[in-house]
Structures are given as C-alpha cells and as structure tokens.
Symmetry: C2
Subunit: 231 residues, 2 copies
C-alpha cells in the first residue's frame, strides 16, 4: 500500500516480508533444532521437525519457505545449517543487551532465568525505584536506581527493555524507556501501554492466559454460563 521511501514497487528479495505468524514460530523451530543438535541428529525431515515443534509439516515448510530454500528435496534439512539460518533471521547471531525494570518477585525470576542468556539476551542492568532494593544482589547484578536508566541505555546501547513493575508504574517506565532510546518493550505489567510508532511492545499477561483456559474449561465441564437462563 504505502511506499514511504520513493523507490519502485519492486518485489523485495524473495524470502523478505515474513508474516507475523511465521515470525512467532521461528523461535519454536529454533528450540526444536537445538534439541535435535544436542541429541546428535544431523538431518531431519519437515515431518520430524514439525513433530518436535508441535505444528503440522505443511505449515513448517511454508514457514521455512519465507526464509529461503535451506532443505534438500528427497533428503530433508541439515539440522545445524537450518538452525544457523533461523538464528540469523531472528537476529540471534549477536547478543542483545536487556534491562529489567521492577525487581519484585517476577523481576527476580526473570533476572535468574537462564533461558535469556542462553538465547542471546544479556541482562545488563536491574533497576528499581524503591531505594530499599538498591545494592541488593540479584543474579549477580546489583539492583540500581531507576534514574540510571538513561545512562545505562545510552552507554550499553540497550534496545530492549523488560517491565516487571506493578501496573500503575508501567506507563511511566515505558515513557522513560522510550525517551532513553529503547525501541522494544516486553511488558509483564497487566496494563495497556501506549508508545509512539516505531516502538514494539509485546505483552505477557499471566492472568489473561488463565482466563482463556477458564473459558474453555467452563465449556468442557458443561457449566455453560447461560445454562438454564433465558434470553
């Protein structure tokens, strides 16, 4: 539709413009491939990889086709090669410095989560507004005053921020993050954030996930909400 920069409407390199649904599955494939590599598997078919990732093989092949042609017909995929290609596509061939703001229970858990480090994310600072938490050691890092945000983001080129504060503080934290130059936010606070265009926000909401389960659970057990009620 829009062509912001004035270039001809050429179809971008084949393999560009990966659909959002596909992007969200690439990390799942990456994890499955890493498990296969660790298990000593050198080659796998789309059927096998799809099974390990919990999707059907047509979807997997379609997804991979957006990246390029990294398989061999009649043979399958070289596990290690495909893993590298996906990691490169996601941008995990270099480390991403990350700051976590809000070092309560959840912030503690996030700071200690080994899955970040092992996947290319490096927690460079833990910030909290409460002075009582300052200098506390969490996951080997000192908790710092929130005011140091701008300094840390600037000197360490932090692009990604994690918000693990109470809901009331989250928008302020987001505003400060954006002002400091952060352009990607992972928000654990149960609130809608408003940010300028160009800043990405992803939200993880524990209670929403449970509510979605409850909705389906309710239907299974036959306790339909309107059962016996009239319209």
């Amino acid at each position: 539709m829009r062509s912001p920069v004035g270039h001809a409407d050429v179809p971008a390199r084949p393999g560009r413009e990966i659909p959002e649904a596909t992007v969200a599955r690439l990390p799942v494939y990456l994890r499955a491939l890493t498990a296969l590599v660790d298990g000593g598997t050198a080659t796998c078919s789309s059927e096998e990889l799809a099974g390990a990732a919990g999707v059907n093989s047509a979807k997997l092949r379609k997804d991979l086709s957006y990246l390029g042609s990294y398989g061999t017909r009649g043979v399958g995929y070289d596990v290690d090669y495909l893993r590298y290609q996906i990691a490169r596509e996601i941008g995990l061939t270099h480390d991403w410095p990350v700051v976590i703001v809000g070092i309560g229970n959840l912030g503690h858990a996030l700071a200690n989560y080994s899955g970040f480090r092992s996947r290319g994310f490096r927690v460079v600072a833990l910030l909290d507004a409460a002075t009582t938490r300052h200098e506390e050691l969490v996951a080997g890092l000192e908790v710092r005053p929130f005011d140091e945000l701008e300094d840390i983001v600037g000197t360490q080129s932090v692009a990604i921020g994690v918000i693990a504060t109470p809901a009331v503080a989250a928008q302020d934290v987001a505003d400060r993050m954006v002002a400091a130059g952060i352009t990607s936010i992972l928000n654990f606070a149960p609130t809608v954030l408003s940010v300028p265009d160009g800043v990405d926000v992803r939200k993880v909401d524990l209670s929403i996930e449970l509510q979605i389960l409850a909705y389906h659970e309710q239907r299974k057990t036959g306790q339909l909400p309107t059962e016996g009620a009239s319209a």
Copy 2:
C-alpha cells in the same frame, strides 16, 4: 463439521461459538471495564472502551456482538453490566482452584502474583519434587511433595494446573496432571507438551517473546541479516 452427540445441526443460541481471537481479548476488555468501574465511570461508548483496551472500536463491537446485545444504541454500554456479562462468559463468576508445580524462582513469583486471586483463581497447592523445598512457606502455603498431586486434584476438584518446572520435567508433570484429572494446563516450561484430546495447553515462553522483539528490532536498526549477502 462434527456432531459428536447425536443432535440436530441447529444453529446454537445466537452468541455461542465465540472465535478464538475474540476469546483471547475478552479478559482485556474485562480488565479495562474493571478500571472504568474503579474510576467511577457508569457508561462508556465502544470508542472509549476500545481505547482503554488498545483495540479499534469496530473490532470491539464485533467481539461483543458474539456475546449478545449488551449495549444501547445512541448511548453506549453500562460498564458494570457489561463487565458482569463478560465475566460470566469467561466463567469468572465462580472461583477456579489451581495447583502450581515447580516452586523455583518463577513458581515463587506465580504463587505470590496477586492478579490470580483477584481474578477468580485460587492457588490451592504448591508442589515440588525436591524434598529440600517441602514445608517451605510460599505465599502462605506450604510446599508439598509432588506425589500429593492426585490427592489434591481429587479432593479439591482442581481443573487447572500450572507447570513452572525445568523443561526436562514438564512432560512428566503434564502426564501426571492429566492422569489426575486436570484438563487445562498453563505451561511455563520451554518445551512442547503432548497431551490427549480434550486437554487444553497454553504456553507462556519468556525467551520466545524476546526473540520476536529481537527479530523486529534487527529490522529497525537496519542490521538486516542478509545485508550485503547474495542469494
């Protein structure tokens, strides 16, 4: 397509068969409505509620239309009434007992998360396989041996289980949960679970969320992975 029980293919009550995308947004609307109630707002338009929920108003109205006609043309929605209707639809008019398995950093955070309790979820037990954690008090509950799962699920009619164990243990925990009668699982372990039909699994994966952000971040900053590379 399928008609498992042998009844005529009558269109269910209007308002049934809510699309999955809509179900996932109902908790967001519920939260926005609760905030409006708390702020003293009695009535709101679809435009206002949509703004508070972070969606556009056409989508909001379409979503609500699956539940019924709870608004008034020319006027808007009664905030408290709509909130009740959504809560009823999700199944939050009664409490859901929940067990959490795996009381590490994340399990601690989940056990202490007030958002569960306040939204109709009651943590009835914390279980861990490690005997060193037993009898420890977390969020006012004693950590119990994992073997007590069946007993607790049976006596307390638990339908929802939360897995916060390391990845290697998650499938075993899921199997035991299913055997004990749990039919909805919220999985925080970074692994694909296989469960029988009829059991719902939702997955929360912290590092996947960060990877999705990294993908977009990489494109923003112009460090395209294939930049300069030839096809």
